[in-house]
């Protein structure tokens, strides 16, 4: 057994996290920054942070992830990191020539109290930021929140540093997608465009984290929200944020700073969440829902009804991030599946509340835990006590799945051992069909594997 020391006895733990269902803020900030065209993320801390984040994102995307670091040494840690960051800004603009540097802090620079605002201002005052170039920043201490929080914080850093309000309204719609894959972002945008919206989307990692092979490494790939678009985003008519945890604070900031009214929806995983997204778009555009989206919805529902017998009653354990877990659990619930165990390492009472609401008035027994103590070790123990048919989560779930001989669907971050997530969306109606296809494949393969010979079915 790979996890041979995981027992069925669930003991109270206060201080020890075992097999975390989260990671730290800065990687989320780095990922969000990659969704700005011409942006070089910069990690203000020791080299290891940047190296770990780049490695993890690269393993997940199988794409180059360019980012720089302040390369703290002991001296910088004692005397402050200002000199390092100033040097870094100068070096980066000289060698890597980005349009914008997106600095995020780390536990190291936060603990010593480096003030990014002050240092970046000094860099500007000292003439280290060339004309027309930008340096934005976000405070992302690793000892607060999780990678999810880091994404949200960098989204706010983008708004603070790059979004402006001019006199003339553009009538455009801002979309702030929560943390999802580049393919998901592209699909979110496609749906909005199909609804007739004129969209500015940020961050937008499509065509950045799924760039084509062309025989040339584009240091700043084609995709990402441009500085020009962003500078006009404050003049937009409306902002839709998708995902309370990762997009919520940014959407609210747009409202507060630029008086752009906003609506906050779930990331559109599954039928109901996609319906809500389209209704939100419809409220903005006022137009009809085009036939193409109606057809996609109908196809999804067709597949759901046709395959209901294979999904009904299936017990599912899920771990991951709130903005994925909420709509995903809702979709499973709507399919008459039984999401019975849900874990997120990301803290926040809003999550547990939303999850409980999903099952209100339903006779469902669901174990939900997030934040402190909610780790994959606990989830595994739950699964040992009450086995499930399917486990959904990031690649680390494969160790549990193998030990327990449970079907396993990879969703979330990071996925280190499969490809596809960056190319094919899970959001929207067609994305939900892909999710269904994957789940059905797992259940049916298992039925084929385990069926006695006389009950081995040709047609299913």
């Amino acid at each position: 057994m790979l996890l041979r020391h995981t027992s069925t006895d669930v003991a109270e733990r206060n201080a020890l996290t075992v097999n975390p269902a989260k990671t730290c803020q800065p990687i989320g900030a780095m990922y969000a920054a990659l969704g700005i065209h011409g942006c070089l993320p910069h990690s203000h801390g020791s080299q290891g942070c940047c190296s770990y984040h780049r490695s993890t994102l690269t393993r997940h995307y199988k794409e180059p992830v360019m980012a720089a670091t302040s390369s703290f040494t002991e001296g910088a840690s004692v005397f402050g990191g200002q000199a390092n960051l100033l040097k870094a800004i100068e070096t980066i603009f000289s060698v890597y020539k980005p349009e914008v540097i997106a600095v995020h802090s780390t536990c190291l620079s936060e603990t010593i109290g480096d003030d990014l605002n002050q240092i970046v201002q000094k860099a500007r005052d000292d003439g280290k930021v060339p004309e027309g170039k930008k340096v934005i920043f976000a405070s992302t201490p690793s000892y607060v929140g999780s990678h999810v929080t880091g994404y949200a914080n960098m989204v706010q850093g983008i708004i603070r540093g790059l979004v402006e309000r001019h006199a003339e309204p553009t009538g455009k719609l801002n979309i702030i997608p929560g943390w999802c894959e580049p393919a998901d972002m592209a699909e979110i945008k496609r749906i909005a465009l199909a609804m007739g919206a004129d969209v500015t989307m940020f961050p937008d990692t499509s065509n950045v984290m799924n760039a084509p092979m062309t025989g040339k490494h584009e240091f700043y790939p084609r995709g990402g929200a441009t500085l020009e678009e962003l500078s006009r985003a404050g003049d937009a008519a409306y902002t839709i944020g998708l995902g309370k945890f990762t997009a919520g604070p940014g959407a609210e900031m747009m409202d507060k700073n630029f008086s752009t009214p906003h609506s906050l929806q779930d990331l559109p995983y599954g039928l109901a969440a996609t319906d809500r997204y389209i209704m939100a778009l419809k409220r903005v555009t006022g137009g009809d829902v085009p036939e193409e989206l109606n057809t996609e919805r109908g196809r999804l529902l067709d597949m759901m009804t046709d395959m209901h017998q294979y999904l009904h009653g299936k017990r599912v354990a899920i771990f991951g991030d709130p903005d994925l877990l909420v709509p995903l659990t809702e979709f499973l619930r709507d399919l008459d599946m039984r999401p019975v165990q849900v874990i997120s390492g990301t803290p926040g009472k809003a999550f547990a509340k939303r999850m409980k609401e999903l099952f209100e008035g339903r006779n469902a027994q669901v174990n939900i835990k997030n934040g402190q103590g909610a780790d994959m070790f606990l989830l595994h123990q739950w699964m040992k006590n009450e086995p499930v048919d399917l486990l959904i989560g990031n690649s680390y779930g494969k160790y549990i799945a193998r030990d327990e001989d449970t079907s396993f669907l990879r969703m979330g971050f990071p996925i280190l051992d499969r490809v596809g997530h960056s190319y094919f969306p899970y959001v929207g109606y067609t994305g939900a069909m892909r999710l269904l296809e994957k789940m059905l494949g797992l259940f049916m393969d298992r039925q084929d594997r385990d069926a006695p010979e006389e009950r081995f079915e040709l047609a299913m």
Binding site: T17, P20, T58, S71, L85, L108, T111, M213, Q372
Partner: protein, 539 residues
């Protein structure tokens, strides 16, 4: 490439220097030399990376927890800090391990962390650490618990060593020890290796009396069982009748370490990460150390023969010859077959603290030329050989890393070889307490670049168009976008093993695949290719 027909080295270096701010450019120039042995030149290494440069390097924590301690299966490794460090070093290095039985301890699939929150940063994290150690002990009752400090721990002043001592005394049956391996110490992973060496030496080596049986007892240092390398070497030793007491640290247990002082020879693979332990064990226990390399078929044969020579036993030598005779020829025949396709191709290696050197052996066996190489976290001695050690300037970053004062152990010290015997062995070509470094093995024209930046790597590709690059995950996909295959030599691209004879064969096969594939030629779609003349219509 041929350096003669393309951009000369000095011009290349000049172009690079110009791209940086002038001070940075001047500094980088010192880390780039040509191997030319006729003109001994100093390479700048193990110095701070300039902030803002996109470097391959990681941190001290990564070198300590990830590299050196990561491969030992029965220690509960608790990361004391916010969640990220533990998360990123969880199973990502591909250290394989084979527990003795299905019940034997193996914590390598687990990630343990104190997941520090802001209140611990403000009020201190020692209480939480104690509690976490207690919880780990109650849950698993392991033989050993190790604590790894992350950046904030040092800054807020948590004394992980005091906590470890207290908990060790409290448990009585569990060795608890800490590592002050905060990420900001030193200039790269290298500092973490040193810290790991110190603490294993202080807290583990020599703590178990039971001597393993066997006539020719060795330890293998600096082999981390990435992709199963250690298994290949273990098998080879067994076939030769060499007893492996402990590997530091591939496929190891804490008991292996504890008994390592019973070995009569330390074999050093990765000089950079483990030479400290070799030296300290020599001083304290009298175990001589010797640099070896099991990467490459010829190198493997050579390494085994050196072991035979060291022990000077005819039966052992005969057994080694028998093993070598069977495997070497067979492996070399396969290399000759592959060489038909790889001969004359070029490679660049930017990796590690020894792999950029060791893997040149394999490329030589394939008739490939290494045109540029460098380490990510090497020191000058890894390039120029240990003779330069007295000349290496000790800067503040190095001074921050503790140098243990080691003395001869009054009871456990045992002289294995007299000075004269060791001198005689050296005269026979054994690298006893010595390492000649990478440069003497390189083509005089080849470039040597320490801590290569991403900018420099892309410039090297542009000017010298190598057929293959060896580096890590962060470089892999950028290089491959240029249409050049990249072989990861940290984690072996999910392949391996590449050590010893079987591993060499795997590597030949892999390189054959990589440099021979026509996939890379498909970049240009037909509509962008030059028009082919229309076929003449026959009327």
């Amino acid at each position: 490439m041929s350096t003669s027909s393309s951009l000369p080295f000095e011009e290349f270096r000049g172009e690079i220097a110009k791209a940086y701010p002038s001070k940075v450019g001047k500094k980088r120039m010192k880390s780039m030399i040509q191997a030319t042995p006729r003109e001994p030149r100093e390479i700048q290494a193990n110095v701070r990376t300039v902030p803002g440069i996109i470097s391959q390097r990681g941190c001290t924590y990564a070198g300590c927890k990830g590299v050196v301690l990561g491969p030992t299966r029965d220690i509960v490794n608790i990361t004391h800090g916010p969640i990220g460090c533990g998360f990123y070093s969880w199973l990502t290095r591909r250290n394989q391990t084979r527990p003795e039985t299905p019940e034997s301890e193996n914590y390598m699939t687990y990630c343990f962390s104190t997941d520090m929150q802001d209140e611990h940063i403000v009020f201190g994290g020692e209480t939480r650490l104690k509690e976490a150690i207690q919880e780990a002990y109650d849950l698993f009752h392991p033989k050993a618990i190790a604590v790894f400090s992350t950046c904030p721990v040092g800054l807020i002043g948590d004394d992980v060593h005091a906590v470890a001592r207290e908990m060790k005394a409290k448990f009585g049956d569990c060795n608890v020890f800490g590592f002050s391996c905060e990420g900001y110490k030193g200039v790269s992973q290298s500092a973490g290796h040193h810290i790991a060496n110190n603490q294993i030496f202080k807290h583990v080596v020599g703590t178990e009396d039971e001597a393993p049986e066997g006539e020719f007892r060795v330890n293998l240092l600096g082999e981390y069982n990435i992709g199963g390398d250690a298994f290949e070497i273990e098998e080879l030793f067994e076939a030769c009748g060499i007893t492996l007491v402990s590997t530091f640290s591939g496929n190891s247990t804490v008991s292996h370490f504890a008994r390592a002082h019973h070995a009569d020879l330390n074999l050093v693979m990765c000089h950079r990460s483990i030479n400290y332990l070799a030296e300290m064990m020599e001083t304290k226990y009298g175990i001589p150390w010797m640099k070896v390399n099991f990467i490459g078929a010829a190198a493997t044969a050579k390494a085994l023969r050196k072991v035979g020579e060291y022990f000077g036993d005819e039966a052992l030598k005969a057994k080694i010859e028998k093993v070598v005779a069977g495997k070497l020829t067979e492996t070399q025949e396969y290399a000759a077959e592959v060489r038909k396709r790889t001969q004359g191709k070029t490679a660049m290696l930017f990796v590690g603290g020894s792999r950029a050197h060791h893997y040149q052996e394999l490329f030589k066996e394939l008739g490939m030329k290494t045109i540029a190489a460098g380490y990510e976290f090497g020191h000058r001695d890894d390039y120029e050989g240990r003779t330069v050690i007295p000349d290496i300037t000790i800067d503040a970053d190095t001074r921050n890393i503790e140098e243990l004062k080691v003395e001869r152990d009054p009871e456990l010290y045992r002289e294995r070889k007299t000075e004269a015997e060791l001198e005689a062995l050296k005269a026979k070509g054994l690298e006893i307490a010595d390492y000649e470094g990478m440069i003497p093995d390189m083509d005089p024209e080849a470039f040597v670049i320490d801590d290569v930046s991403h900018y420099e790597l892309e410039k090297l590709m542009e000017h010298y168009k190598p057929d293959l690059i060896c580096a890590g995950i962060k470089e892999k996909y950028a290089v491959q976008k240029w249409g050049v295959p990249l072989k990861q030599l940290h984690n072996y691209d999910y392949g391996g093993p590449y050590a010893a004879f079987g591993g060499a064969r795997n590597f030949y096969e892999e390189i054959d695949r990589m440099v021979g594939s026509k996939l890379w030629d498909m970049v240009t779609p037909p509509w962008l290719r030059p028009l082919e003349p229309r076929p003449v219509e026959i009327v």
